[in-house]
């Protein structure tokens, strides 16, 4: 058994639901007990989906267990087919049904339905959501392509008469509940058009079963979300000899690499995309206002592909210092470990959010990039945070266009990461005016009447000095405490923590003004 307070990923059948919900004409029947229908709300509430997920559950209860649960599966499959008339069905089970071993996939396959029936076996006690999504997408694509009559499957034009036509690409991986997939699909289409590549099929998001039959017509596949599409892309490479563009184009450097990779595979001239500076990120990052971003300490945690991309952007494109990096995804652990090694860090591979919280607290970053979990952790620790990866809440499905991939994605990322930090010019102003009587944390905002707001700003921030424990026996002398108050309030907490840590390590029982400045020198960079 594994103790979980919060989980990064749901069970594998939720991954399968994401594939079914992404597709436009696939219906998924899950053999599952009453209550498992909660998963519908992930789509209808978090993603604000306007339709119910195309999923039917058997919702068995205890009284059904003594009876014919296999019969229940068949009735449910038949009713779902009759009602929804899908072009293909996926049939599987959730964790509880796995234990009663009705094998719903095989049962449904034996029913002679007039549409392809894809049985899903997703071991719920050893695997998780992204794996479930990846396998389901792979099973679906393979089943459709392997069972269709040859004349229904599109074939690739002979490369010999490729002259005069633009190369064709499939974009694989964008999925319902994926991070910014909706906008990434639009942005990747724009980018490919600019490069001179036409899009053949995007799947699974908004694809139909008929679209899947068109997949082999493309010259190559773009694995946009490796968590979802890696297995499928590998199979397509083996089966249809379609090369795979593996670089995920998040960040300016990765986007350029992505274009170069396409250039190599297709032989087209992509200089239009490579030579013009099409993102504002490079100039914004070079501009003097961004000087203050130099060496900002960053902690990055999330799924594999977004973390790896974020690490590169942080180091190469914003000149941040990555002080911690990790993923909850064991499937992506190798990629994240490699990225960590390049940064001379050890990757944190865990799905226990308490471990992540501890690592963040220890690393004392100035900005956290993560999922909704890290957003909550950062909020509790008083650290700015930007969300870069699923799982996310409703506010991370924004109304505005906000892709992550391509040149516009880089612009979005620049804004999203930089805004939580204090703006450069403002930081100078804060220093300049910090001794003004109006400008300190005791003063009420000038636009409020005297007295208003003072109560809020006087509320003491929780400090370790207020909660003495065995680990921080050092006590502040009044002089040092006075000196600490002269430090701008937004870095004061950190100064206090650093000084106390320094005093503890150095064995100083009392913190004097000397200790404060010794600590400042110690932690200077």
């Amino acid at each position: 058994m594994e103790l979980a307070l919060w989980t990064y990923e749901g069970p594998p059948h939720v991954g399968a639901m994401r594939i079914a919900t992404s597709m436009r004409d696939v219906h998924y029947v899950i053999h599952a007990p009453q209550g498992d229908t909660y998963a519908d709300l992930l789509f209808t509430m978090i993603e604000r989906s306007q339709r119910r997920p195309p999923v039917t559950y058997t919702t068995f209860q205890a009284r059904d267990l003594g009876g014919d649960t296999a019969g229940l599966v068949k009735t449910t499959v038949q009713d779902a087919y009759d009602r929804f008339k899908p072009a293909a069905m996926m049939v599987g089970e959730s964790c509880t049904a796995e234990l009663i071993q009705d094998q719903p996939g095989s049962l449904a396959q034996g029913m002679d339905l007039p549409v392809p029936v894809v049985p899903l076996e997703l071991p719920a006690y050893s695997k998780k959501e992204n794996w479930g999504a990846s396998e389901s997408f792979y099973y679906l694509v393979r089943h459709i392509l392997a069972n269709a009559p040859a004349d229904q499957i599109a074939s690739r034009p002979d490369p010999a008469d490729a002259s005069g036509r633009r190369p064709l690409a499939n974009v694989l991986g964008p999925t319902s509940l994926g991070f910014r997939c909706r906008d990434d699909v639009i942005e990747i289409r724009k980018l490919l058009n600019l490069v001179g590549v036409d899009v053949n099929v995007v799947a699974p998001l908004e694809a139909t079963t008929a679209d899947l039959l068109q997949i082999p017509a493309a010259d190559f596949n773009i694995c946009l979300c490796p968590e979802i599409a890696n297995t499928t892309c590998k199979w397509l490479k083996r089966t249809f000899s379609q090369p795979v563009v593996a670089t995920v184009p998040i960040g300016v450097g990765a986007t350029l690499d992505f274009v170069r990779e396409i250039q190599e595979i297709t032989g087209i001239d992509a200089s239009a995309a490579l030579d013009a500076e099409l993102s504002r990120l490079p100039w914004y990052s070079r501009s003097v206002d961004s000087t203050y971003l130099t060496g900002k300490r960053l902690f990055i945690f999330g799924d594999g592909s977004h973390v790896v991309a974020a690490a590169r952007i942080a180091r190469e494109e914003l000149a941040f210092e990555v002080v911690g990096i990790g993923t909850f995804s064991r499937e992506m652990a190798r990629d994240v470990r490699a990225a960590a090694e390049a940064l001379e860090l050890e990757a944190l591979i865990t799905d226990d959010y308490l471990d992540v919280e501890e690592a963040i607290a220890n690393a004392q970053p100035e900005l956290v990039l993560g999922t909704q979990m890290e957003r909550h952790i950062a909020k509790r620790l008083g650290i700015p945070c930007a969300v870069i990866s699923a799982p996310v809440h409703v506010q991370d499905f924004p109304a505005r266009y906000s892709p992550q991939v391509g040149f516009e994605g880089a612009n979005v990322i620049f804004d999203t990461w930089v805004h939580p930090l204090t703006m450069g010019l403002e930081e100078h102003l804060l220093h300049m005016f910090r001794d003004d009587f109006e400008f300190n944390d005791q003063a009420a905002p000038s636009h409020l009447h005297a007295g208003e707001g003072a109560a809020a700003s006087e509320a003491p921030a929780p400090t370790t000095a207020d909660n003495p424990d065995a680990n921080s026996p050092a006590s502040w002398t009044p002089d040092a405490e006075q000196e600490l108050r002269k430090i701008p309030f937004f870095v004061r907490g950190k100064a206090r923590r650093n000084t106390e840590a320094y005093a503890r390590d150095a064995g100083h029982p009392n913190i004097t003004i000397e200790t404060l400045y010794e600590a400042k020198a110690h932690y200077a960079r």
Partner: protein, 421 residues
């Protein structure tokens, strides 16, 4: 479908896909109520995922609930699973020495593999030797529906309660503290507390101090889904005071009057004590009545609050009931509520969600009360909806909340009128 008649109200039984939460959801409000208790679900990743999806953004600290996620190796042998559980509990309790009561909560997988959590709870209670009391109940979807998880939890607590011969009044069902305080003041003012000798609320705010129960205990239910709890209390000798549930002016007045009759308190005394809060509640209700009056209403089966709320919305807000879906119906618990419904209220027990939605679209109600999975798709089809989960998280009982309760239903209708997009 089959039909039966209940207090002259036709009840249709339906079977099919049920779009409801399982009983684990109750942990979300039970752990807020009993702040010295920890809820450990023994289940799967699905259980953990459900809990955090249902709890959503509402709570995010280190919560007082968690899931012991069973893995492949746990399913191999029973002895293994018990050892694993002991190890998890040890880790948990060493992290949280403030925990005085630990609930082991059964789930679908733990029940299908017949993991005996009752015995595990006994074993662990002995092991922690009075430091921590370990209790167990089922929150599984195969045994419980949504609020029924509170019912099974309280049932377990009733069985763990000490005996007493003292006369007392017990108010049973989780209520927000603020509502509990209001009801306590009312019961005092009506002279009911004095006549009863003692007043206690169940569950208590600290699980450590479960109120004693005995043959001189009389109890009022504050929530309509406590069927097993009611039976367990009767089993301990306690006497149920049947009453309307304290929703709306009429429900709250009737609830107090029923208690008064049980303890021979004069009706006039209750009327006097209630006069001012009743006047306030009527005034508050008046703000929303014009919005709700004459509007048609449809309940999808969900929280099990449907019948008393339907009674309130029909009788005090003038709404027309088209269909009242309920996950299950206990006629004894609802013996006073059912006759208070308007004639020809269509009650449907159980669910076949697709058929129900077809009927709903035929009937075109002005407002649908439903779960989170259905609300946005209905809105997208132009059907105004009210999420039922808010009804279990918001204070809605008693006189002082009558206006708030009506407002919950009026808001989506008013919003629809305001929006020009």
């Amino acid at each position: 479908m089959s039909s039966a008649t209940l207090c002259d109200i036709p009840v249709t039984l339906e079977r099919g896909q049920r779009e409801v939460f399982c009983g684990l959801t109750g942990i979300v409000w039970l752990h807020r109520k009993m702040q010295d208790a920890f809820f450990l679900v023994v289940g799967s990743r699905t259980c953990a995922h459900l809990l955090q999806s249902a709890a959503g953004v509402m709570i995010f600290s280190e919560p007082r609930f968690a899931t012991a996620i069973m893995q492949e190796k746990d399913l191999a042998g029973m002895a293994d699973a018990n050892d694993e559980l002991d190890r998890i509990v040890e880790r948990l309790l060493s992290r949280r020495p403030d925990i005085k009561t630990l609930f082991l909560v059964g789930s679908c997988p733990s029940e299908v593999i017949k993991l005996d959590l009752g015995r595990a709870a006994q074993r662990l209670s002995v092991a922690y030797n009075g430091q921590v009391r370990v209790l167990s109940y089922s929150g599984s979807g195969i045994e419980t529906t949504f609020t029924e998880g509170e019912d099974t939890c309280l049932e377990t607590m009733v069985r763990a309660a000490p005996q007493t011969d003292e006369q007392q009044l017990l108010v049973v069902g989780t209520l927000p503290d603020v509502v509990e305080d209001q009801l306590e003041r009312l019961l005092d003012a009506c002279g009911i507390t004095e006549a009863a000798g003692k007043l206690a609320f169940f569950p208590p705010r600290r699980a450590e101090t479960i109120p004693a129960i005995g043959p001189k205990t009389r109890f009022l239910l504050a929530q309509p889904f406590l069927n097993a709890t009611r039976r367990a209390l009767i089993g301990q000798g306690a006497v149920h005071i049947p009453a309307l549930f304290p929703f709306g002016v009429e429900g709250t007045s009737a609830w107090l009057h029923s208690a008064a009759r049980a303890f021979d308190v004069r009706k006039e005394r209750v009327d006097t004590a209630c006069a001012a809060p009743v006047a306030r509640a009527r005034k508050a209700l008046e703000h929303y009545r014009h919005t709700l009056q004459g509007k048609t209403l449809w309940f999808m089966p969900d929280s099990q609050l449907e019948i008393p709320l339907a009674r309130f919305l029909a009788s005090e807000c003038g709404m027309q009931l088209l269909e009242i879906g309920v996950p299950y119906l206990d006629q004894q618990t609802l013996s006073v509520e059912l006759p208070a419904l308007p004639e020809n209220s269509g009650i449907v027990e159980g669910q076949d969600v697709d058929k129900q939605l077809e009927r709903l679209h035929q009937a075109t109600p002005d407002l649908v009360v439903c779960g989170l999975g259905l609300a946005n798709p209905l809105e997208a089809q132009g059907v105004t909806s009210k999420w039922s989960i808010e009804l279990v998280f918001s204070p809605i009982h008693g006189f002082e909340q009558v206006g708030d309760l009506a407002e919950l239903f009026a808001r989506p209708l008013q919003r629809k009128l305001k929006l020009a997009v």
